[in-house]
């Protein structure tokens, strides 16, 4: 049964890349966004920590 599922009626070469690309894009967008936010917040903490943050 598993083989049939993976084979996708002979269209495995099209269905799986489509879904895998979707997953890849979702992961790439979310990871890059979160990592960017963390890095910037760390940088802000240093910048504001170093001096008294005004208004």
């Amino acid at each position: 049964m598993m083989a049939a599922f993976l084979d996708m009626g002979g269209y495995a070469a099209f269905v799986w890349p489509a879904w895998l690309l979707s997953a890849a894009i979702l992961v790439a967008v979310s990871v890059s966004s979160v990592r960017r936010l963390r890095a910037l917040e760390r940088e802000l903490a240093e910048a504001e920590g170093g001096r008294d943050p005004h208004s």
């Binding site: 599922f5 996708m8 009626g9 002979g10 269209y11 099209f14 269905v15 890349p17 489509a18 879904w19 690309l21 979707s22 894009i25 979702l26 790439a28 967008v29 979310s30 966004s33 979160v34 960017r36 936010l37 910037l40 917040e41 940088e43 802000l44 910048a47 504001e48 001096r51 943050p53 005004h54």
Partner: protein
């Protein structure tokens, strides 16, 4: 109602901390349901066979490419008309996400078209319109990054977002016109088959999943933009501070 208070990173952080978990959790839930129903439960199409499963990512991606652009156009209007600081930042933050969905729509469209027509790219009216929308996203991001001063880039690209929003229907109409003119009888439109209920469920699940994903990522990216804007201001202040120190 003073929206301005959300423009400061701290306030916006509180807002996003409350809503982000719900959006991210919802997205995970709906995407899981979509994958399960799309790949396993729903039947193959009597005509297209298993390739119809590509539709469950292709069509939601198309919807998202337009939904994100609509958000950008609204943010652009808010930025230009009310000079709202949050709106200026939002456009720049979500454009790459919209472009990513548009790219996904194009590639999955090509993967869907290949088994049916034997070519990787079909000049189908809708696919071509999505291609042009992709160019508009690229133009928006290029213009946004083309100025030394981020605020100048944000406002210039906001004008482009609105000009794009007004022109997209005209472009869509002209592409449809062009498509019907050159319509060889044999190539049927790249149409989703008549959606029967069992296929609607995964489609909606994926669409809602993508939308909630977009909301979650938008919160994260807008927060990042606000923090970056704050850093920019601190750097300016330090430079101005130095200049003042030199003068005394």
């Amino acid at each position: 109602m003073n929206w301005h208070r959300y423009a400061s990173p701290a306030n916006f952080k509180r807002l996003s901390d409350r809503l982000l978990p719900w959006a991210a959790g919802g997205a995970a839930l709906f995407l899981a349901a979509g994958v399960w129903s799309g790949l396993v439960v729903s039947p193959a199409d009597y005509q297209q066979g298993e390739t119809v499963r590509i539709m469950y990512v292709h069509v939601p991606a198309a919807w998202m490419s337009m939904f994100v652009y609509a958000n950008m156009a609204v943010a652009a209007a808010a930025a230009l008309v009310w000079r709202h600081p949050l709106a200026e930042v939002a456009g720049r933050a979500i454009a790459p996400v919209g472009a990513a969905f548009t790219f996904l729509c194009l590639v999955t469209g090509s993967l869907w078209g290949k088994p049916m027509w034997g070519t990787w790219w079909v000049w189908d009216a809708r696919l071509t319109s999505v291609l042009i929308l992709f160019f508009v996203y690229l133009a928006y991001m290029a213009l946004n990054a083309a100025f030394d001063e981020p605020e100048r880039g944000a406002r210039a690209s906001a004008v482009l977002a609105l000009v794009g929003a007004i022109n997209l229907p005209v472009i869509k109409f002209s592409v449809d016109w062009w498509n019907t003119l050159h319509q060889p009888a044999s190539v049927t439109r790249l149409d989703a088959p008549a959606i029967d209920p069992s296929m609607l469920a995964p489609l909606l699940a994926m669409a809602i999943g993508f939308t909630l994903f977009f909301v979650a990522v938008a919160f994260v990216r807008i927060r990042a933009e606000l923090v970056e804007r704050r850093l920019e201001a601190l750097r300016h202040a330090r430079v101005a501070g130095e200049a003042a120190a030199e003068r005394t």
